[in-house]
């Protein structure tokens, strides 16, 4: 029993990272209806920004902020240079999806040219493991989980209780209707992508902290798991995505801990295929709902 709870504790750490990444992905999807295949690169760039700051003597907080800023800038750039233009031209979801695959290829290889293709070590002092209830966590892991919860709560407040959040929900439900009602849909979409980029960049930072190494490709690999969580929870549905992220994160940790970590990705996609085949709209979606309900 004790061992099960320990694994659950590690699973919660993975779930925290995964949920943030999946939330960011869902935000991007909700306002543009584009599944952004270059989402993983937001995480990667976040990790590299944090790494650079750390190399120049920055602390954990500064690294985290740099990661968020880097991710935000990248998301804004991808939205402005590709996604927004495609959406406004009425180029449909699938072609834009293919285009973001091209964007992902570009970003990955720019990073390869700048930093090299090999793994970089991201060493942070983890702190001694502490026993909290039945769980065993290091300081870094506690920081990861606490910050993830705080960001999620903050995001909830923004989406649910601000004017911008209201516009976001309106645009995600019906872009044309939102525009007719006087909402500047393009601006809302840009800001949402910025917000998603901030979260995604930070997710990349905590991913690097938790794994300890990263490369230009690590964001893309993690994105594949993110996709599992986001699609299982329901594309564009925030609460579903959050729950999907937690379930997939914990499930992967149990699978990796008890069977074999090498097959994690295969296992994630097995879950995903099952979910898509049985409930293509996601596990927690019933009827018409907005992004944060």
């Amino acid at each position: 029993m004790h061992e099960v709870l320990l694994t659950l504790g590690f699973g919660l750490v993975a779930a925290a990272i995964l949920s943030l990444s999946a939330l960011a992905f869902t935000l991007e999807y909700s306002v543009t209806n584009v599944a952004n295949l270059s989402h993983g690169e937001i995480l990667t760039v976040g990790a590299y920004c944090a790494y650079l700051v750390q190399q120049h003597g920055g602390g954990v907080i500064l690294s985290g902020l740099a990661a968020a800023a880097g991710g935000g800038a990248l998301a804004l750039a991808v939205h402005a240079s590709v996604v927004d233009r495609f959406v406004r031209r009425g180029i449909g979801g699938l072609p834009t999806f293919i285009a973001t695959l091209g964007v992902s290829l570009v970003i990955q290889n720019v990073l390869v040219i700048i930093f090299g293709a090999s793994n970089l070590g991201y060493a942070v002092p983890q702190g001694a493991p502490r026993t909290i209830g039945p769980f065993l966590w290091t300081d870094t892991e506690i920081q990861i989980m606490v910050s993830a919860v705080l960001i999620t709560v903050l995001l909830y407040l923004i989406v649910q209780h601000t004017r911008f959040g209201k516009s976001l929900r309106a645009v995600s439900q019906n872009r044309s209707l939102a525009r007719v009602s006087g909402i500047n849909a393009n601006r809302v979409a840009s800001l949402t992508w910025l917000l998603a980029g901030l979260i995604g960049g930070y997710a990349g930072f905590i991913l690097a902290e938790s794994v300890g190494t990263f490369s230009p490709y690590s964001g893309f690999s993690f994105f594949l798991i993110t996709l599992t969580a986001a699609v299982a929870g329901g594309l564009g549905k925030a609460v579903g995505t959050l729950v999907g992220g937690i379930i997939v994160g914990i499930a992967l940790e149990f699978f990796g801990g008890y069977l074999s970590a090498s097959y994690n990705l295969a296992f994630a996609f097995a879950i995903l295929s099952l979910v898509i085949l049985v409930r293509p709209r996601g596990l927690f979606v019933g009827g018409r709902r907005s992004v944060f309900e």
């Binding site: 031209r89 180029i91 091209g102 992902s104 720019v110």
Partner: protein, 337 residues
């Protein structure tokens, strides 16, 4: 120099074969299949496992036969089609658009992880090797003359594939596939069995991909998981998109531009110290940019597919002036997600 030209042309022919296969799935049937390179890889692995003989310690892999190369490739193609049938039967049943793409991406990653991690299958990350100059001995060719022979062989296969896909393209099956791509519901209303047709196209396309993979194995003499990262699929898609989606001539042109042309264009890039991966990375950046620009500005490609009409000659007499349909490529967005 001449050796270099021969190797570029051989690689080009092989990639053209793969792209023609993918074109059936994406160009005609309209499914954005991210698992395609998995079929190429399986074709290559099977060909190797069937030709290089029993495994010696410490390598382990299945089969381990010493069949003649053409027979091995044929068996590889069949096994590829079986795999494509399984994946396609699951993924094509209800899924379209990005959901189909995501499931096929998952399928290829499952294959990738298994090929890499499950050592008894195809020797894990080290992969298989040892197929030297296939068919060279039976024709009495040596190390120098074999590449010329193999170029001829690949070119001959490419021409055969081209003839077959061109016939298929104008056939009722080819036309019907395009009707699915354009409007699935309308095609269903006209009595097409959409699932069956899409599945058929998927299996045929994957089989051609497996054929390309088999030839690729003969050319490389080895294959391992690092040779088939999903990036390769994107390169094939870029080639199809640039050449003209749905059009066979366009696809061949696209491969010439995107695979061979880009290779040449980036070959003389200056070597940068400590950056062995500069040229390939730069090539992929260009591929990505070209992909985005073509989707945005010229989705029909350089040599657009011609609209085909199934005309009954008997109708000609009665009709007034034939209506000229403009030559436009297929629309990229087929069916909502």
């Amino acid at each position: 120099m001449i050796n270099y030209v021969v190797s570029v042309l051989t690689e080009g022919s092989i990639f053209a074969i793969m792209a023609l296969g993918l074109n059936i799935i994406w160009g005609w049937s309209g499914d954005f299949d991210l698992a395609f390179y998995g079929y190429v890889a399986l074709g290559a692995y099977m060909t190797l496992a069937l030709t290089i003989g029993a495994p010696t310690e410490p390598t382990t892999y299945i089969l381990g036969q010493t069949l003649p190369f053409p027979l091995a490739v044929a068996i590889a193609v069949v096994s590829t089609m079986v795999l494509a049938f399984i994946v396609g039967a699951i993924a094509l049943r209800h899924l379209r658009g990005i959901y189909f793409s995501i499931v096929t991406l998952g399928a290829v990653y499952v294959l990738y992880v298994f090929a890499g991690q499950f050592v008894p299958l195809f020797n894990g990350y080290n992969g298989l090797s040892g197929l030297f100059d296939p068919m060279g001995d039976s024709f009495g060719l040596d190390f120098n003359s074999w590449p010329f022979f193999y170029l001829g062989f690949c070119a001959a296969v490419l021409i055969a594939v081209l003839v077959i896909v061109t016939r298929l393209s104008g056939s009722r099956f080819g036309l019907a596939l395009r009707s699915l791509r354009e409007d699935e519901r309308a095609a269903a209303a006209f009595g097409r069995n959409i699932y069956l047709m899409k599945l058929k196209a998927y299996v045929i396309g994957a089989g051609i991909g497996g054929l390309g993979g088999g030839l690729f194995a003969g050319y490389l003499s080895a294959f391992n998981p690092s040779a088939w990262s999903p990036v390769e699929t994107i390169v094939l898609y870029a080639a199809i998109l640039v050449g003209g989606r749905g059009s066979n001539r366009g696809v061949v042109l696209g491969v010439a531009v995107m695979v061979m042309g880009l290779q040449e264009a980036t070959r003389y890039l200056p070597e940068i110290a400590n950056q062995p991966s500069f040229a390939p990375a730069f090539r992929l950046i260009l591929t990505g940019i070209v992909l985005v620009l073509f989707i945005r500005f010229r989705p029909q490609g350089l040599l657009p597919e011609r609209r085909m009409r199934d005309e009954d000659p008997a109708d000609r007499g009665g009709a007034a002036l034939p209506v000229e349909t403009p030559i436009v490529g297929p629309s990229l967005d087929t069916g909502a997600a």
